[in-house]
């Protein structure tokens, strides 16, 4: 017993100060891919999880990256595409709207004779640069405006009712277990999310919301619906990881629904394959309104 106490003292405090202060990002850390406006951007088939799409708008080629589908394999930034696609250093990428995970840029600017402009924020829809919510990306079933209002209402209600304490159920809807393990790690001595008033509970009936991992397999559809229905309203639904957000590498097929919002309205999306623990913490804080989601970026326009 004495030895245990001594060992514990020797180990000291290992708990992170995140979100107040983040530990330095490792040099090799890769965030989401950044598309360079005007760059020679890769065609859609380069991405094995279907995160890249392209379309012609007024005779110009637009390329969109759906960060919700990205599994971080890096194929879009290899070889001939290396300069046009780079990796960001951002991990706080959770958003409230599915469409907010999409960044579109005008590619091949030089060839199309476009003026090269500096990057403007997402959703600006300004000529030659970046728009969010590209065509063909499904919104969650209840629609963007509706969804934002509902999410804000739930967040406000939970905030008021529960005094910043958030009790969650985990629901594995068919993940590869990497996201699940990162959720487990939130409870380890390093992340210790209980210090932030966040905890995981054993029953949906005790929960304020649910964190879902996995693309929702056919064999779990019923269990997913029943679990979420068992959570008293108002309830939050947080999709953790590429599979829960969009189907990820499993995609959509005979056994996989292609993401949680195919079945249920989702309040917060946390992209990543898997998102690192700090990225999940950030998403949970966004879910209760303690942090604001930030728009995703593209790379600075090509000089």
């Amino acid at each position: 017993m004495l030895q245990i106490v001594l060992n514990a003292l020797r180990a000291g405090v290992v708990t992170t100060r995140y979100p107040e202060a983040a530990r330095p990002l490792p040099e090799r850390f890769r965030g989401l891919p950044l598309l360079t406006p005007g760059g020679d951007l890769p065609p859609p088939e380069v991405c094995p999880s279907g995160a890249l799409t392209e379309r012609q708008v007024d005779g110009r080629r637009h390329v969109a990256l759906d960060a919700g589908r990205c599994v971080g394999c890096g194929r879009c930034a290899e070889g001939e595409w290396a300069g046009a696609v780079t990796f960001g250093r951002e991990f706080e990428c959770a958003v409230r709207g599915r469409a907010d995970l999409v960044v579109e840029v005008v590619a091949d600017g030089a060839r199309a004779g476009l003026p090269r402009q500096g990057l403007t924020p997402v959703a600006a829809d300004r000529d030659g640069v970046v728009v969010a919510g590209a065509a063909g990306v499904p919104l969650s079933p209840r629609g963007a405006a509706d969804r934002d209002a509902a999410a804000a209402a739930v967040a406000a209600q939970i905030h008021r009712l529960l005094g910043r304490s958030l009790h969650l159920r985990h629901l594995d809807a068919g993940s590869c277990n990497a996201c699940d393990w990162e959720l487990t790690h939130l409870l380890n001595p390093v992340y210790d999310v209980r210090r932030l008033g966040i905890d995981f509970v054993a029953s949906p009936r005790h929960a304020d919301g649910v964190v879902v991992t996995g693309s929702v397999t056919r064999n779990l559809e019923t269990a997913v619906r029943r679990t979420v229905e068992a959570i008293p309203e108002p309830r939050l639904v947080v999709a953790v990881g590429a599979c829960a957000v969009s189907g990820g590498i499993a995609g959509e097929g005979y056994a996989s629904a292609g993401g949680v919002d195919r079945l249920l309205p989702v309040d917060v999306y946390i992209p990543g394959c898997p998102p690192r623990p700090e990225a999940i913490i950030f998403g949970l804080l966004v879910a209760v309104g303690r942090r604001a989601a930030r728009p995703l970026a593209a790379a600075p326009a090509k000089a």
Binding site: A8, R28, D172, C176, Y191, R218, L220, E252, G253, Y254
Partner: protein, 542 residues
């Protein structure tokens, strides 16, 4: 081949011929040392298979069905792959039978070879090939409400379709009935942060009488997903079949592709791959040992295991940019080098890990209430481990001296001057033995990583594969993941893309052993037993 080996091979082939009344065709392959035995008559299968598992002391490694109805053969094919249970013989023997699509039936071998049980049920669900005489008629991979006569791994099945859920009666769980017996249903959604599975216990008081485990809730259709992909795309999928086996599965897939492409990965890349493989084993084993403590309410052990595991996963992120070491293994080598600064970081972190780990193990051993919970709990006999073809830590804790790093050499274990491995075994077959095998393997992995770093010499990180892979070739690799040997079987189509990929994860082989071991336990000890096997659902269900 040496004369003795050739004579042994001749004797083996003669024995198989003697068992096959309809005759056999024998060829080398898929790898040079392997044999493929094509049975002219499917009815000869049980006798020939029994020759392999009986007198030849081999075990069923995996079963792979393929749909070749579009080829001139016009049939389904089923391959039963066997491997020696003796140490150090790297050979697979494949029994191959053709199955008439008009009467898709094969005789079941499950009654004599229990390890075939799930494989045959999976083949029935996904290919519609019926194992005649199989003792368990229940579906395995497809669950309630799946339409009849829809077989996803047949080539005629459209992978994008979403089939309706039909009304279905409740699944017939196998339970014992009688006065004073209780049925305890658990899952598929568990109380903790755990993957989904359904466990139906029958208990008499605290004693578990029977456990019926129903899995495949996380079946995502990953093998179908692979079909038609290029080799490079397939790697992205293979690495994401399982989170905590990312390196092992990526590596197994890559080695199968490299075999087909006929390339030899360089020494430096092999050493870096091995470092990653052992780092994966380390963070798994240390976390698993901590989690066993959770099952016995020894919270200091749980917290210490979690802290050490976290420091290893942070190391992973510094080495590769990814906490689960994804994107390191690439076809033909590795994506990242291990420069001097990171070697120093690696050595320092592993030094601290070992010190912390040794101290944790000392505290566990000094805690009688923990030791008492682990000793003699959840027994898996040596015989059962062999019959079920149990893999990895669970097999070695029951006295089965098998480790794919030595028995099917890969990465740096296959270098001309191979990395030497001390295989850790125990004979007790209980929860304590499984924990102690992991303890030994943690120390061995740290030693191996040190040895790999010492042997790092300048050399290429990556060799090029042919632009298009040769068509119609089979690649076969068995990788020792943290849970045991993962067997990867891959075949290219005529255009060099993936025609069929199959993964037999060690968890797939080991789940039936968990159910068996639970039957010597009391209900409150099940979490301990389960955590001592520590199996993945995702790489079982795929």
């Amino acid at each position: 081949m040496a004369k003795g080996a050739r004579r042994a091979e001749g004797a083996l082939i003669d024995a198989l011929r003697a068992r096959a009344a309809g005759g056999v065709e024998v060829a080398a392959g898929p790898r040079a040392a392997d044999l493929t035995v094509r049975l002219a008559r499917v009815d000869d299968l049980p006798a020939v298979a029994a020759e392999l598992t009986g007198p030849r002391a081999m075990a069923l490694a995996t079963l792979v069905a393929t749909d070749e109805t579009a080829t001139p053969d016009g049939a389904f094919a089923v391959r039963y792959l066997f491997e020696p249970t003796a140490a150090g013989v790297d050979r697979f023997v494949t029994l191959l039978v053709a199955v008439d699509p008009a009467h898709p039936e094969v005789p079941s071998i499950t009654r004599t070879i229990p390890a075939a049980n799930w494989h045959e049920r999976e083949m029935r669900d996904l290919f519609g090939i019926v194992p005649l005489g199989h003792p368990d008629p229940r579906p395995l991979v497809v669950h309630d409400g799946w339409p009849a006569d829809c077989f996803p791994l047949r080539k005629s099945f459209d992978p994008a379709q979403r089939l309706a859920h039909l009304e279905a009666p409740e699944f017939p769980h196998v339970v014992a009935e009688g006065e004073g017996l209780f049925e305890i249903p658990v899952g598929p959604i568990h109380a903790g942060i755990i993957e989904p599975g359904h466990f139906r216990f029958t208990s008499a008081g605290e004693r578990v009488l029977h456990l019926d485990a129903r899995l495949f809730f996380t079946h995502r259709g990953m093998e179908k997903r692979m079909e038609g992909l290029t080799a490079a795309e397939g790697l992205v999928v293979a690495e994401r079949i399982c989170g905590i086996c990312s390196v092992a599965h990526g590596l197994g897939y890559a080695e199968a592709v490299e075999q087909i492409g006929g390339v030899e990965v360089g020494e430096r890349a092999r050493l870096i791959r091995t470092i990653a493989l052992e780092l994966e084993r380390l963070y798994n084993h240390i976390g698993d040992i901590g989690n066993v403590c959770a099952g016995a309410a020894f919270h200091y052990g749980t917290a210490t295991g979690a802290r050490l595991k976290e420091s290893l996963q942070q190391l992973n992120e510094r080495l590769t940019g990814h906490r689960f070491l994804r994107n390191l293994v690439v076809l033909g080598g590795v994506a990242f080098d291990l420069p001097m600064a990171l070697q120093d970081d690696l050595a320092a972190t592993l030094g601290e890990t070992l010190a912390g780990f040794d101290s944790l193990v000392a505290r566990m051993e000094a805690n009688p209430s923990l030791v008492d919970r682990l000793d003699t709990t959840g027994l898996l006999s040596h015989r059962a481990a062999l019959d079920l073809a149990v893999a990895g830590v669970a097999a070695r804790a029951s006295g089965v001296d098998r480790d794919a790093r030595r028995d099917h050499p890969h990465a740096a274990f296959a270098l001309p001057e191979p990395l030497a491995l001390n295989v850790i075994t125990r004979t007790e077959g209980d929860t304590m033995a499984r924990v102690m095998v992991r303890v030994g393997e943690v120390r061995e992995s740290i030693r191996l990583i040190g040895e790999c770093v010492r042997r790092l010499a300048p050399g290429p990180l990556r060799v090029d594969l042919p632009e298009v892979l040769p068509g119609g070739r089979i690649g076969l690799a068995a990788i020792e993941s943290p849970r045991g040997a993962a067997v990867h079987w891959l075949r290219t189509d005529s255009g060099g893309r993936i025609e069929r990929y199959h993964l037999r994860s060690p968890s797939y082989a080991n789940w039936p052993a968990v159910a068996l071991a639970a039957e010597s336990a009391i209900v409150p000890d099940f979490p301990l037993v389960n955590k001592s096997f520590e199996l993945c659902y995702s790489c079982t269900d795929r």
